[in-house]
Symmetry: C2
Subunit: 253 residues, 2 copies
């Protein structure tokens, strides 16, 4: 998808190959494909393959680097994920804000490349690594235990990027956007009124409702029907049910 | 955090105990704590403990049920995650929309409980299970490979819930919100002007700038300084640098 193909995810010195595989899958489900790793402890590795599941293509295309500088050399905008406060504060944004800015940058200057860095499982990115970044990214999390698993953090960031890229797509191209998934048109007010009148007559005929002393029942039923916003087929179906109930109450004919 | 403590995540027949542990950690980092599993293939299991990392408390509190009905019996609103289109469409919302509605419901009726169901790794929730739900939830994903790992899907949904709960907090209580993290006040326009004048004089004294024919350099430098929005300390620091450079150029004194 437009804007996502020039965003690189960089894992710096990951310890567990499972996280490389999990990250590959996290990228692919969100339409990204460029994964780089810097000095992985074990890679390639069967655990990476297992966790990558259907993202073997992303895993096979992973580039391995012996320095962070090498992994981000061609990038114009570099973002580093961080959970701690720094002694010298750096520009800091949430995952959602970074995604907005990333997609906006990609649509302004389609040739620009960006990298998002994720640090070691145990202790993240070093200060030196974070100082190579234009901006820091923080995933909002419970301050009592803000320690997201590495692949999970990649998933959340890629999810925000994909959501933002979707918003930037022309509506007709939005596969996972908010398609109109209903299979029948909603009932018109007239059709709903028809149903209510029909219902009222059935309730009276059946003896449920005393027309001289109707109480609140009809109002509550109306509220219920309105809240559910029935479609045409559902209104027809309910009226069919009412017809059958009425016939049952007035005996066979 | 308010609104999150009565939201239960339910894993229906998970195959891999690692995903139960991963889900426990995904809940805890986002401030949730109630995890239920229905007929897990292997649980408890060392793999669950390993993946749970610092969320052993959530893992120990997991409730195990032999039916979905039992796991959701006390819930007032039940949401089922789904990746496929259903033959009879059900109300369908994105993770973000569900989170908005969940937190709004919890603040309107604090005693209400909700459950969010996640299906089997291989084939999700059955139609019968999905029909027990008030609403279906879909995580936006690439239509070519929308298959999120189970624990990853839990992470994304819990992340949206936490983000939404944060928005609903009073500003003073927002730990991971957008705190004002800068350690120094931004420089005033006057301070920046002082810097620019100082810079200009240094550039002239040093011979970089010909006052008779200044060109674009000062304008570009001004644009750069404005874009970076320096703080007070940075302005002082830059002026200190200029002072030293000027002394260097005019010889020691």
């Amino acid at each position: 998808m437009q804007g996502l193909d020039r965003i690189r995810v960089v894992l710096v010195e990951p310890s567990h190959p499972g996280n490389i595989g999990g990250a590959a899958r996290a990228l692919k489900v969100m339409g990204l494909s460029e994964l780089a790793v810097v000095n992985p402890r074990r890679f390639p590795d069967p655990q990476a393959e297992w966790r990558a599941a259907g993202a073997q293509d992303v895993l096979e295309a992973v580039t391995v680097h012996d320095s962070l500088d090498d992994a981000i050399a061609d990038c114009h905008w570099v973002v580093g994920t961080s959970t701690r406060q720094r002694r010298i504060p750096w520009p800091l944004k949430s995952a959602e804000e970074i995604a907005e800015e990333a997609i906006a940058r990609q649509s302004r200057t389609p040739d620009s490349r960006m990298a998002i860095l994720f640090g070691r499982e145990a202790n993240g990115l070093t200060n030196t690594e974070l100082q190579k970044c234009h901006c820091h990214l923080q995933i909002p999390a419970d301050p009592d235990y803000p320690s997201l698993n590495l692949a999970m953090a990649v998933q959340v960031v890629c999810y925000e990027l994909f959501k933002q890229a979707l918003l930037n797509q022309p509506l007709s191209d939005q596969p996972g956007g908010q398609p109109d998934i209903w299979d029948r048109p909603p009932a018109t007010a007239q059709q709903v009124e028809g149903l209510m009148t029909h219902l009222e007559s059935v309730l009276i005929t059946s003896g449920f409702l005393d027309p001289a002393n109707p109480g609140q029942s009809l109002t509550r039923l109306r509220r219920l029907i309105n809240r559910v916003q029935p479609d045409e087929t559902e209104v027809q179906m309910l009226r069919g049910v009412l017809n059958h109930l009425l016939q049952g109450n007035s005996g066979p004919n």
